[in-house]
């Protein structure tokens, strides 16, 4: 497998994880892969600052995240309005009588606040420790635990409530109140 002393090979192996994190930040857009590209270039240029034996993926994630919040936000290559997008997709479907619809998982995930979704992606999805995730996000471990807690609670709430025209979860996009 990857020799711990070979961060370059580690970077190659980490690309799928970098893409997953980038997509969670940018959505399935060209910006996500551009972000990964930028991350790889920066990581390569700064390999001497990587502490051998430490968590390479966490290090790469930190670079990616910083890149996202500094450059990509500035140039307005941000997350597409996934919240509105998903809500619109839901509310535009005709409500069928007696048919309860629930948000699918991706739609619910898209509705979370960015720092909550990020916490879940780092800890729950990529399996990083709270400590590593906190370091990546530049927050206290307690803060990270609290974000994960709240994110899980909010997701549970979103997944449990049936979506109808009167649902408070609907983003105000001219929902017609013709459901049930």
């Amino acid at each position: 497998m990857i020799a711990p002393s070979d961060p370059k090979a580690g970077m190659l192996a980490a690309i799928p994880k970098l893409r997953a994190f980038a997509i969670s930040l940018c959505g399935r857009t060209a910006a996500a892969d551009d972000l990964v590209q930028e991350t790889l270039m920066r990581a390569w240029a700064n390999l001497d600052s990587f502490e051998p034996g430490s968590n390479l993926v966490a290090w790469l994630y930190t670079i990616l995240r910083n890149e996202f919040y500094s450059e990509f936000r500035k140039s307005k290559r941000e997350v597409p309005d996934s919240d509105g997008e998903y809500a619109a997709r839901l509310t535009s479907r005709p409500a069928q009588e007696g048919h309860m619809e629930f948000l699918d998982f991706r739609a619910a995930l898209a509705k979370l606040a960015p720092d909550h979704r990020e916490a879940l992606v780092l800890v729950g999805a990529s399996g990083l420790s709270y400590e590593d995730a906190a370091q990546i996000c530049g927050c206290a471990v307690g803060t990270m635990k609290s974000r994960v807690n709240r994110a899980r609670g909010k997701l549970a709430e979103l997944l449990s409530e049936p979506t109808d025209a009167r649902s408070v979860m609907s983003v105000g996009r001219g929902v017609t109140a013709d459901a049930s």
Partner: protein, 77 residues
């Protein structure tokens, strides 16, 4: 165990006392909809969404990038 509204198809029935490791680790307060079953479902879905991307083949542009970076580095050494 309370009534659940319209359970989603294909949802596994799990033991109500089962808790996920990280739920226990943060002293997860169980209230309302935060049942262990739903939290475990969330954990599985999170990993499934993530893994779906992780399992995709690495786009050529990244392989090319790393190869370019490597050869530039070797060229100047």
């Amino acid at each position: 165990m309370g009534e659940r509204k319209a359970p989603r198809p294909g949802r596994k029935k799990m033991m109500p006392q089962q808790t996920s490791d990280d739920a226990a680790a943060v002293g997860w307060p169980l209230q309302g909809r935060m049942e262990p079953e739903l939290q475990d479902h969330i954990g599985r879905q999170l990993r499934a969404v993530y893994n779906e991307i992780v399992e995709e083949p690495v786009p050529d542009r990244f392989l090319k990038l790393l190869a370019d970076l490597e050869s530039k580095q070797n060229g100047t050494s």
